[in-house]
């Protein structure tokens, strides 16, 4: 990572004649001109002059009774941090630290019996010193993870090796959680979780594995980890709408949920309903939807009685304007339907198919198409067939209308197939609905008129009451002020 920030002159010189003409260059074109960026950690300030590192003898050359002390010396040496934003400073020391870290990684992974009790403190200290840092502000405030290049961690050449070392340490057969838990405690985990907000995907990937190992080995920390993830998600949903590591945390949770004992604890159900389901409202859903849907389906496979609240929850948060998200929701519904039990299906078929009927008639063809694809799924088809008396009346109106009105020929063709399938399931009902279609529409219109009429009457009643009130002059001012916005 040699470059720190893009040369400004180059960027402005690159403004082409075409930009002069229309003033709007495409975002992607503009982005392409920018170089990959990297950033240093926010902690790196006013550390004063750096101590220069001096190479220590190789571990393999030391005698076995010296080795342990040398190991600790090397760990301490690696606690010293370097400024990678300045690519020319301390080159020699940086190289020494890199080589030392490499040596440490190899040392703990190839030798047995080197992780002795006295080393834990130094090991955790070295890891903490290197990876725990305040993440700097994103230098692109409207960072779009789908389109923008992430800002990479400048000190990666060292940090990567530290993570590597951390993993080997955790995975070593000599590793003893009972000793390590004195150092890898709640505070440590808390700091580790905060790092998941790192913009660097390489770092988040390491963190994911590390946290997974910790969750597996430290039983005492499990509840705490789940609670902290909970808090991170709630903050993400309701406060900041920004956290880079949501997908990674969900991935870990996916495997955690898999291991939940039955019956599910109330805490876990609450997590599903109050955290995972509201998470569907997030703006950047596309970035972690696959992981989220996996978690939800995991829950339903564990406990089928959760199906109804989950589907009702999804219906409550159904996207109103974002078609892209609607397609994702439909995908998730299909995943749920794939594992649904027929008894559960009966409980939610009505509200669910009302929504599907709306999606089918969406003017956005991808939404309509995604919903119509449900009819290609054998299992869903069998569920529909079993409940055709309920579902056909819900779907018929919009299918019939689209077959006449939709702008997109592919959708019309799909709808014809669906109508044909439905007709084959219950021809009689289909014919009844066809013949009553017009009457039904008219009844709806009439109902609409009646509604308006009712409101009008209510308005009159209000006026009448208001007049009475005025006459009795009771509390007049407050009422007027309360209703003045009408």
């Amino acid at each position: 990572m040699s470059s720190s920030s893009p040369p400004v002159g180059a960027a402005s010189a690159a403004i082409s004649a075409s930009e002069k003409v229309d003033g709007f260059t495409r975002k992607s074109v503009r982005k392409a001109q920018r170089q990959k960026r990297s950033q240093g950690s926010s902690q790196f300030r006013s550390q004063g002059s750096q101590a220069e590192l001096h190479p220590l003898p190789q571990l393999k050359d030391a005698t076995s009774n010296e080795q342990q002390e040398l190991f600790c010396q090397k760990l301490q040496q690696c606690c010293i941090l370097f400024d990678f934003m300045d690519s020319v400073s301390d080159l020699k020391s940086k190289e020494i630290k890199r080589a030392t870290l490499n040596e440490l990684v190899e040392y703990v992974s190839t030798n047995r019996g080197v992780i002795v009790e006295s080393a834990y403190s130094d090991i955790v200290k070295m890891i903490s010193a290197n990876i725990f840092r305040t993440l700097p502000p994103s230098d692109n405030p409207d960072f779009d993870p789908e389109e923008d290049e992430p800002t990479l961690e400048a000190s990666w050449p060292h940090i990567q090796l530290v993570y590597e070392f951390f993993l080997r340490f955790l995975e070593s057969p000599d590793f003893q959680p009972s000793i390590a838990k004195r150092y890898i405690d709640q505070k440590f985990v808390q700091q580790l979780l905060e790092l998941f907000d790192s913009e660097d995907p390489r770092e988040r990937d390491f963190l994911k594995t590390v946290l997974h190992r910790i969750y597996g080995k430290f039983l005492g920390l499990r509840a705490f980890i789940r609670k902290q993830i909970n808090n991170i998600f709630l903050r993400f949903i309701y406060e900041t709408e920004h956290f880079n590591g949501v997908a990674e945390l969900l991935e870990i949770l996916g495997s955690i949920i898999n291991g939940f004992a039955l019956p599910l604890k109330a805490e876990h159900k609450q997590f599903l309903m109050k955290v995972l389901i509201p998470m569907h409202t997030a703006k950047g859903l596309a970035l972690f939807h696959a992981q989220l849907a996996y978690c939800v389906v995991q829950f339903l496979e564990k406990d089928t009685t959760l199906t109804e609240p989950v589907i009702r929850g999804l219906l409550k948060f159904w996207p109103k304007t974002c078609s892209q998200k609607e397609v994702m929701f439909l995908g998730e519904i299909e995943e749920i339907l794939d594992v649904i039990e027929p008894t559960q299906f009966k409980k939610i078929e009505e509200p669910l198919f009302k929504q599907i009927s709306k999606c089918v008639s969406s003017s956005h063809f991808q939404v309509a198409e995604r919903a119509l694809y449900f009819w290609n799924n054998e299992y869903i088809l069998s569920l529909i067939e079993e409940n055709i008396d309920k579902i056909l009346p819900i779907m018929f109106g919009s299918l019939y209308k689209i077959s006449k009105e939709h702008w997109n020929p592919t959708i019309v063709a799909l709808v014809y197939n669906v109508l044909k399938t439905l007709m084959e399931m219950n021809g009689k009902l289909f014919d009844d609905l066809t013949s009553s279609y017009k009457a039904e529409r008219q009844r709806e219109k009439k109902k609409e008129l009646e509604r308006e009429e009712l409101w009008k009457k209510l308005e009159e009643l209000k006026l009448k009451k208001a007049l009475e009130k005025q006459n009795s002059a009771y509390n007049m001012h407050s009422i007027l002020s309360n209703t003045s916005d009408e």
Partner: protein, 693 residues
């Protein structure tokens, strides 16, 4: 659907017995069951109508319980409900019954969605004021306590916002309980709750007795300010402002300053950013002495912080900080302790920092006076005028008036000119737009002579810019310049150049002439308009491009009020009538609009003499509305508004475009809407080719 929970029973059943006065609630229930969220929303928004129709007693006994029971709906509906209930006191029978509103609001204060919760808390705060002290203790305080000890974090978060409204009116015993509850929320397990408590800490401190502030609030503040989460710590900085205002200097020094010092050097940049952002408030709260001893050094550190965000936030505060220093010794402090750091920032690596500084630095000149400005600030200004980032240059130029008052603008003009020229030709049209907006200001300060010599040509060049927004801004700029320099100047320098463009081969430039005339005619007055502008406009009525022709019609309508009767009658009217017969429907349309406007103007000028002409003009006018209009749209009204407000033009046009959905895209874009520039030009070209054949 969701809103239909618990329907058939309860007050809804009452709707069936035919009693006229009973059906409001039936209507509401029916509507709340509706599948369409919008209808549910509408009925909730008319809740006060229903309540009024029901009367206070039935609102209390039927409507509110019903609402309390059925709260499970889309957040949008809940939001509307929470808002409505805040204004319901009168509808349930006044303050004596205000407590009836608490149960539904309590449920709303526990929902997940933050906006709903916040609105419920807002309504609760409002209603708390309407409670009598007795009712407050009997109903409101228990509610706060229930929320404060709720299971899920949402209710505890909501409780945080309610302490300060009930505390002042509670008895001493209850006060102690309230404080106790607040204390426990400050150390809540959930960071969300601690954040809510921290954000209300300042507000709560203000209503507490001074002793309690010292003995209870300060420890809470200290704890929150060293919370493990930086999102909590930074909120404590905000609370610091309120708390500091309550304490004496000694107490401040002993109780608050250690924490504040620590916050200014927090390891998280977010906390340091907050300190920088709240710096002026902190400065006022702690007073001059602590400012000098503590805040100035802290500020110096913030100005050289390792994070650009923090530096930028601090740079924004430079002027305010200096202004608020005690007048005595201010100059020395600024010169010795602030200015050296500012000099560094002028060449900062981050453009946000530089532009933040550029937006306030000019303000220092009034504080430092002429000599210091020339000696110390001027070099900085000059450096910033040459900055590579246009925003920095713009910020300097936009604040020139501050410097002008102190040293006069001449000192800068040598550097100013290249900077302006460069910005005027910037590749980004938004930058060009920004500099145009400062032109009238610059013209005023540089004077007519300098302007004519150096800047006039720029102003004219913008008129033929390839971006419509720039051309439009340039025409408005001309008007402002004329207002500043007078009509004589306009006649000599601007008008001839504008009128020459009427013969330009590019129809867009010809239209610019018309747009200029639209805005200049008023500033220039009747004589110039009639003698110089009108003939050109009339001549352009024969243009081969329809867009030009219908803009002629629009211009004639626009300058009509400035012309006298003769000109209108003899020259304008015949041309408009000819345009009224144009082959292009849009030209016809605008000609008719103009004809009726002119007719009205004539009628006003000479109602008795020309009375006979008016009906025919009106009649013709009506017959010529060939295309369908929006229902109920009164054309007479539309054009009256048009004459009154130039801006409404676009709105009317937009409405007009909407009423003709059947037409092809080329025609839809035919109208001259100003916002989509590139698109517009394409559309105009399309039309051009159409009218060519």
């Amino acid at each position: 659907m969701a809103g239909a929970a618990g329907p058939g029973t309860g007050p809804g059943a009452a709707g069936g017995d035919g009693d006229d006065s009973l059906y409001p609630i039936a209507v509401l229930i029916d509507e709340l069951r509706n599948e369409d969220v919008q209808l549910r929303l509408n009925s909730i928004k008319k809740l006060s109508t229903i309540a009024l129709a029901l009367g206070v007693e039935r609102t209390r006994t039927e409507l509110l319980p019903f609402l309390t029971d059925t709260i499970y709906d889309e957040d949008e509906v809940l939001l509307a409900l929470a808002e409505q209930l805040g204004n319901f006191t009168g509808l349930v029978g006044g303050p004596d019954f205000a407590h009836c509103l608490l149960p539904p609001l309590e449920s709303l204060a526990t929902v997940e969605e933050t906006v709903v919760r916040d609105k419920a808390v807002e309504s609760l705060r409002q209603i708390s004021q309407e409670h009598t002290p007795v009712a407050l203790e009997a109903h409101f305080v228990p509610l706060v306590k229930r929320l404060a000890s709720g299971d899920w974090f949402t209710s505890r978060t909501s409780a945080c916002g309610l302490f300060s409204v009930c505390y002042p009116r509670a008895s001493n015993a209850v006060k102690a309980e309230i404080r106790q509850h607040f204390r426990s929320l400050c150390s809540d397990d959930t960071p969300m709750v601690r954040r809510a408590a921290a954000s209300k800490l300042g507000e709560f401190a203000k209503v507490l007795e001074l002793d309690s502030v010292k003995s209870e609030i300060v420890p809470l503040f200290t704890n929150l300010a060293s919370d493990e989460q930086d999102s909590v710590r930074l909120l404590a900085v905000e609370a610091c402002v309120s708390i500091a205002q309550l304490l004496s200097q000694e107490d401040l020094e002993a109780l608050v300053m250690p924490t504040l010092r620590q916050a200014a050097e927090d390891k998280s940049w977010r906390v340091r950013y907050m300190v920088a952002d709240k710096f002026s408030e902190l400065q006022k709260a702690v007073g001059p002495k602590i400012t000098l001893n503590d805040l100035i050094p802290a500020f110096q550190n913030l100005l050289k912080d390792c994070e650009a965000e923090v530096r930028a936030a601090a740079a924004h505060k430079v002027k305010e900080l200096c202004e608020n220093l005690p007048a005595e010794g201010r100059e020395t402090i600024i010169m010795n302790q602030i200015l050296p750091f500012i000099k560094e920032l002028v060449s900062d690596t981050n453009q946000h920092v530089k532009s933040a500084l550029a937006s306030v630095i000019m303000g220092l000149s009034t504080i430092l006076g002429k000599e210091n400005t020339i000696e110390h600030l001027l070099p900085l200004f000059l450096a910033q005028l040459k900055d590579e980032c246009p925003e920095v240059r713009l910020n300097i130029i936009s604040n020139l008036d501050c410097v002008n008052e102190v040293i006069g603008i001449r000192q800068l003009s040598q550097s100013l000119l290249p900077a302006i020229v460069e910005l005027a030709e910037d590749a980004k049209w938004r930058v060009r737009l920004a500099i145009i907006e400062y032109m009238p200001l610059l013209a005023g300060q540089l004077g007519m002579e300098f302007f004519d010599e150096k800047l006039n040509s720029l102003c004219m060049a913008w008129l033929v810019d390839h971006v419509y927004a720039i051309r439009e801004a340039a025409t408005n700029n001309l008007m402002k310049l004329v207002q500043k320099f007078g009509t004589e100047w306009a006649q000599n320098t601007i008008v001839p150049k504008v009128l020459v463009m009427a013969n330009d081969p590019n129809y867009l430039h010809r239209m610019t002439t018309l747009f200029c005339i639209n805005v200049l005619s008023e500033a220039c007055g009747q004589e110039i308009t009639t003698k110089q502008m009108l003939p050109i406009v009339l001549k352009m009525a024969g243009d081969q491009v329809a867009n030009v022709r219908f803009n002629v019609a629009k211009s004639l309508q626009k300058i009509g009020p400035i012309l006298d009767t003769d000109a209108l009658q003899e020259e304008v009217k015949p041309v408009l009538q000819k345009l009224g017969q144009d082959e292009d429907m849009d030209v016809k349309y605008f000609a008719q609009e103009a004809i009726s406007a002119v007719a009205q103007r004539l009628r006003k000028l000479d109602c008795s003499a020309k009375a006979s002409e008016e009906p025919s003009a009106r009649g013709a006018d009506k017959n010529h509305f060939l295309r369908p209009r929006g229902p109920g749209e009164d054309t007479g009204k539309a054009h009256r508004e048009r004459a009154a407000r130039a801006v409404s033009e676009e709105a009317v046009e937009a409405a007009r475009l909407q009423t003709r959905p059947s037409k092809g895209p080329a025609h839809q874009l035919h109208g001259n809407t100003r916002d989509t520039l590139a698109q517009l030009e394409i559309a105009e070209l399309v039309h051009f080719s159409q009218s060519g054949d």
